[in-house]
Assembly symmetry: C2
Homo-oligomer: 140 residues x 2
């Protein structure tokens, strides 16, 4: 029953997972880019206050996705790492797909940030198929 029979309820469920997915993905990104992730880095990335970040990180820590100690850097648990990897993969598929149908990179990044959370496995599979076919047809 991945798709219970109401689109609006499904969208609400997608949104309930969205913050966790975006934050763990951002944490992984920032760790890779600059060695360690701080509250401040996330606040800048998300364009919210550090207060909002701190509260959300507490919840993610309670949920076993994030490792936190006061005034320390932000880390990911094994589960957080897993979710980050999956989120990044999905993000990349959606961005690549949008670009392939002719959307500019900037817009693709903007739209994908929201759309990615609503793309079901079936839709992601369709996007992947489309990308593969396009690669088959065009050389390089």
């Amino acid at each position: 029953m991945p798709n219970r029979p109401n689109p609006f309820a499904k969208t609400r469920r997608d949104h309930a997972d969205e913050t966790a997915e975006d934050y763990v993905e951002a944490i992984a990104d920032i760790e890779i880019a600059s060695g360690s992730c701080r509250v401040k880095d996330l606040a800048e990335r998300m364009q919210v206050s550090h207060v909002t970040v701190t509260r959300i990180l507490s919840r993610l820590a309670d949920g076993g996705l994030v490792a936190r100690e006061p005034y320390g850097p932000v880390g990911l648990t094994p589960r957080g790492l897993e979710m980050a990897a999956a989120s990044r993969t999905r993000h990349e598929i959606v961005v690549a797909f949008l670009e392939r149908i002719g959307v500019s990179n900037a817009t693709a990044e903007h739209d994908a940030e929201g759309m990615e959370h609503h793309a079901s496995k079936e839709t992601l599979a369709a996007m992947r198929r489309f990308l593969s076919r396009a690669e088959d047809v065009r050389p390089g």
Copy 2:
């Protein structure tokens, strides 16, 4: 500046418009399907309690999108009608597009309900182009 320079902020803005867009679209749908739209119809459609619907309708009425009187049916103002038409058009484009890349109708309807709010003009234009081309290529 339709795209201010942060994907997460853009996604939050998309979400801020989402409820209004979905509700006016639903109201228009229900009016067409059954002659008049009641609180109860919306609660069923959205799969939420009638309390949630009532509160949201009050806000939409304050915003000049919805016409309300106590215990009466739910109507749309001219602005509400406009928004409903635009929302429906966009919804149909996204659904048709997903189906065209091979997603089943049920999944397309589910995913589109969330994705539609994040599809920028540029992305919608790309989807439209894709649909037109596909129509050119395949007969019928």
